[in-house]
């Protein structure tokens, strides 16, 4: 058989099949058309395929190619017609397509805003060369107080200001025994633990939960999160402290931010300062900072004549509340999903 003859037959078949597939108004007539043209045993396409064997050998590739094209075309037409009939016979046209109907959304969960703030802070500090360190939340008094230059008679150790852990004696009603452990009141404990087993230079941020017996109200909660930075090396100065905090603030506020120090007092730093940052035309309180007190350096076996250090700390809830306009700290721990879905 000549190629032209074969192709003519094929085209004629394609034309008829197209007309019938498009005309089919219901599943029965479509099925009839399918059997007629695409039927596996005696469909007309099958017949044409048999003719393929009689095409001249040299023309076979061209004939085969065209045959496959037509076959695919008919199958596509058939499936479009099937879909059309399944949809109640409607053809999708501009007039009945409404793109404003809501899409089908997958349900996504939300990360807690505290986590999001922590991730942001850790990310920025990471770019400034600080690596995260963690330590226990239940601490001995050495790490929470003594090593941080908070001696036995210091008011910060008052039982009313700390969560000391009960022992067998206190459980049985005797409250006078000396406490051994406590829920840490600050994450500086981690800095001590890192310095105890690392030689300088040290450049870490410690973060996590801390506990203080505040009555829960809009701005206080007995558990909250802190993040603290520590850098120990030779020649570390307050200018480094100010500069690091400024870089941090510029990253966090994505703006040209300045840093201001006001004198303050913390047992574990000397000099100690409160840090303010200029933002939106105002000075906002950022947290506490200072140069690591020589007593702290000595407590972990460093020589304050050899190395110096800077430290800074801030409350994560406060930053998070300001960032998102949250007005009640208790919302963080209620875990109302309507609250969580806002972040």
């Amino acid at each position: 058989m000549a190629l032209a003859e074969f192709l003519n037959t094929l085209d004629e078949l394609a034309k008829q099949a197209t007309a019938q597939f498009e005309a089919a108004a219901d599943a029965v007539s479509l099925e009839a058309a399918r059997v007629e043209f695409l039927g596996a045993k005696s469909g007309r396409l099958k017949d044409v395929q048999k003719g393929l064997g009689q095409v001249d050998k040299a023309d076979k590739p061209a004939a085969g190619k065209r045959f496959n094209e037509v076959k695919q075309q008919l199958e596509t037409l058939f499936s479009a017609a099937t879909k059309r009939i399944a949809n109640g016979g409607c053809v999708e046209t501009a007039s009945d397509f409404d793109p404003t109907i809501p899409g089908k959304r997958p349900v996504l969960g939300h990360l807690h805003p505290i986590t999001q703030t922590i991730e942001e802070l850790v990310d920025i500090m990471g770019r400034l060369g600080f690596t995260v360190a963690e330590g226990p939340e239940i601490e001995d008094l050495w790490h929470n107080f003594d090593a941080l230059n908070i001696p036995l008679e210091h008011p910060a150790r008052d039982p009313l200001d700390n969560f000391y852990l009960a022992t067998a004696e206190t459980m049985s009603g005797q409250n006078k025994t000396e406490p051994k452990w406590m829920l840490r009141s600050q994450t500086s404990t981690v800095q001590i633990r890192v310095m105890e087993k690392t030689q300088p230079p040290v450049r870490i941020i410690s973060l996590g939960r801390v506990y203080r017996p505040d009555t829960a109200d809009a701005t206080h909660y007995p558990m909250f999160h802190q993040i603290e930075g520590l850098l120990i090396d030779r020649h570390v100065t307050m200018a480094d402290l100010k500069s690091i905090l400024r870089l941090f603030a510029e990253s966090f506020f994505e703006d040209d931010v300045h840093v201001r120090f006001r004198p303050s007092f913390f047992p574990f730093t000397e000099p100690s300062v409160e840090v303010d940052m200029s933002w939106a035309g105002d000075w906002i309180e950022f947290g506490g900072a200072g140069m690591v007190d020589p007593n702290v350096l000595r407590a972990v076996g460093y020589d304050p004549e050899e190395v110096s250090g800077l430290a800074f700390g801030l409350g994560i809830e406060r930053i998070c509340m300001r960032r998102h306009g949250i007005t009640d700290i208790r919302e963080f721990y209620k875990n109302d999903v309507r609250f969580l879905h806002q972040f």
């Binding site: 239940i138 000397e270 999903v337 309507r338």
Partner: protein, 671 residues
């Protein structure tokens, strides 16, 4: 500390606007809390840090102002004329508890006339929020607010035996204080007694019996020093806090006691008349000598990052009251002032230089050396887990680390030990350090159910605190899940998460039994024989325990193991060159036969062509399959690594698999 603008002017010229004063003081360490106009005077509220009790009086604040603005400071000399008989002849003082009271001084003024204070004094007191009482009481308050040294005035005529004994209370002693409450005194407190009874709670509050009345004529003026710790305990124990106790808790100027006493007597003579007895009864150990401090000038730049000229350093220190005893090219040596007990070390002097020189002088653009930091493995794994769980529709919760004792007892998969407890609850009865996150998450679920939330899917990554006897507890980070979905749904989320952190990991399930869970609807997850976690559906009693109305499934997984098993940097496997062939299998087995065992046999028998075994369904029909039987439907995906697998090969393999499952599990191919 509230200071009066007019009062301050007595000691230092104030020719700056008050806003400038407030700002500059704030930048030097006295935080500005607010300013109020009180009858033409200004009440300026300053926050004084606990290391600066010297600023708990107007003179201390005036001294700061004088240093900052370079103004002269004028301090009253307080040299009252004493022309009465020697005070030693009139009164005896003894200290029985030198640990609680280091020094006690007494002066006596006789023949005073009690009456109202003059206007200038009542105005100043009112400005700072003190109500005037009478001239003598007002004077003692005034001097306290002037120099920070608390004073007390007794009606000398009412002190029995004309003596003062400073001692601890005897058993059962009580005192009615001037607030007309009666306080029960306990050992460890320091009281002031006359020959018979307590007449004051030392350093905290005077007694009603000896307080100054309109009829009082003779006065004993007490100026003393009490132990800060003991004052704090006493004030806390009695819940009685006063301007006196506040200052004694922070420590007073030991060397300023006598000035305050003289100043008080001077004002009494001036405003209430009378005659001051000669001398003072002064009981206490000799004052310790103040130790000199050496400041190496190069240390200033070493710590601050900027140099401060030597001349300026010496001037700042001198202005603040330090007495220079030696000045060399590289260092100065000073004796700190008696009112600055916080200055004992070189670093303390550096801070003084810094705050007066000004922290604004420190640059904020120093070139801090760059160093590499690494993200910790545990943080990277946690982040991956959070990504999967939020994608699966779970919200992240953060719950309190403590629960109450009963709640702690509901679920403890990791230890049999009793939880640790804090001495006081962290919040409403929650004093147990939790052993599992699950109870907290169930409580969060209840909160949301009460709000009629329909979809409550929560997870939390936080620590549990597993007791270890004498050692600090083992703080293990856990991943907790709490869902309204079924066991299978939550298990699916866990499987997806495990696959995300390590696609090749092999873990197993094992039976479990917990009071909280339905029998047969819970399991343990094992990783190389170690307990990776627990998963279970709550039984009705468990739901009731947590006040839940709807079904809940919970799980808890050990983060340490998840971190350990995670494969953070996957290795590339070349993509297969040949197509896969799949075969459906429908095996009928006894009800007791478990999927995992059948799956293992199928996989093992399929080697080396095994690619994947997909579970499809379990089908039960006693009529067609027989009682106690089920059929497991699965799709097996096979692939050859050397060439395309033929249908014949696949069929042959399937037959071998069916035979193996028949041998091992009694399985039959369902036609």
């Amino acid at each position: 500390m509230i200071v009066s603008w007019n009062w301050l002017k007595q000691y230092v010229p104030l020719d700056m606007p008050h806003a400038e004063l407030e700002t500059r003081l704030m930048m030097a360490g006295l935080n500005h809390e607010g300013t109020e106009d009180v009858a033409g005077d200004l009440a300026i509220d300053l926050e004084v840090t606990s290391n600066r009790p010297d600023c708990l009086g107007h003179l201390g604040v005036a001294r700061e102002i004088a240093v900052l603005w370079q103004k002269p400071l004028s301090i009253p000399t307080a040299e009252p004329k004493a022309d009465g008989p020697p005070v030693d002849d009139l009164v005896k003082v003894q200290i029985d508890c030198p640990g609680l009271c280091g020094r006690y001084t007494a002066r006596v003024v006789r023949g005073v006339k009690i009456g109202p204070s003059p206007g200038w004094m009542t105005r100043r007191l009112r400005t700072i929020g003190l109500a005037p009482i009478n001239n003598v009481v007002d004077i003692s308050n005034y001097v306290l607010m002037e120099c920070g040294q608390p004073l007390h005035t007794f009606d000398f005529g009412k002190l029995k035996g004309s003596q003062i004994i400073v001692r601890e209370p005897k058993a059962g002693e009580t005192i009615e204080a001037i607030d007309h409450h009666t306080y029960r005194l306990e050992p460890g407190m320091c009281i002031i007694a006359d020959g018979e009874d307590p007449v004051a709670i030392g350093g905290v509050m005077g007694g009603a019996a000896t307080e100054i009345a309109d009829t009082t004529t003779d006065i004993l003026v007490e100026a003393a020093e009490f132990d800060p710790l003991s004052i704090r305990h006493t004030a806390r124990a009695l819940n009685l806090h006063s301007d006196s106790s506040y200052r004694f808790e922070r420590g007073i100027d030991s060397e300023g006691i006598d000035w305050a006493s003289r100043r008080c007597c001077e004002l009494i003579l001036e405003l209430a008349g009378g005659q001051l007895c000669e001398g003072v009864v002064d009981v206490g150990a000799p004052l310790a000598e103040r130790k000199p401090i050496v400041l190496r000038l190069n240390q200033i730049e070493r710590i601050l990052g900027i140099p401060v000229p030597a001349e300026e350093v010496r001037k700042i220190l001198a202005d603040l009251g330090n007495v220079e005893i030696r000045a060399e090219a590289k260092q100065v040596e000073v004796i700190p002032p008696s009112w600055r007990r916080d200055l004992t070390r070189e670093i303390d002097l550096i801070e003084e230089v810094a705050r007066i020189h000004g922290y604004d002088e420190i640059p904020e653009d120093a070139g801090v050396p760059m160093v590499a930091s690494t993200r910790r493995r545990e943080d990277r794994v946690a982040s991956k887990i959070r990504t999967v769980l939020t994608a699966a529709g779970y919200d992240e919760a953060v719950t309190l680390s403590t629960v109450d004792a009963e709640t702690a007892a509901t679920f403890s998969p990791w230890t049999d030990a009793e939880p640790l407890a804090s001495r006081s609850p962290v919040l409403r009865g929650a004093d147990r350090l939790r052993l599992s996150l699950v109870p907290s998450l169930l409580e969060a679920r209840r909160t949301n159910e009460a709000l009629s939330e329909s979809r409550i899917e929560l997870f939390e990554i936080a620590k549990v605190y597993l007791p270890r006897g004498k050692k600090l507890p083992d703080e293990q980070r856990m991943l907790g899940l709490c869902s309204g979905g079924s066991f299978e749904e939550v298990k699916g989320v866990i499987e997806a998460m495990l696959a995300a952190i390590n696609p090749a990991v092999h873990w197993e399930t094992a039976d479990a039994s917990f009071d909280l869970f339905s029998n047969g609807r819970c399991c343990r997850l094992l990783l190389d024989g170690q307990l990776l976690g627990i998963l279970g559906e709550l039984r009705p009693e468990g739901l009731k325990r947590f006040g839940l109305r709807h079904e809940a499934t919970v799980a808890e997984l050990n983060m340490a193991l998840l971190v350990q098993m995670a494969q953070l940097i996957p290795t590339y496997t070349p993509l297969p060159a040949y197509p896969a062939v799949s075969r459906d299998l429908n095996l009928v087995v006894d009800e007791r036969v478990r999927w995992a065992d059948v799956a293992k046999t199928v996989a093992a028998t399929s080697e080396p062509f095994f690619e994947e075994l997909q579970y499809q369904d379990t089908y039960r029909d006693p009529e067609r399959l027989g009682a106690g039987k089920k059929s497991l439907l699965m799709t097996l995906v096979l692939r050859g690594s050397e060439g395309t697998m033929t249908n014949e090969q696949a069929d042959e393999l399937r037959n071998r698999i069916v035979a193996a499952c028949g041998r091992k599990h009694g399985a039959e191919l369902r036609a």
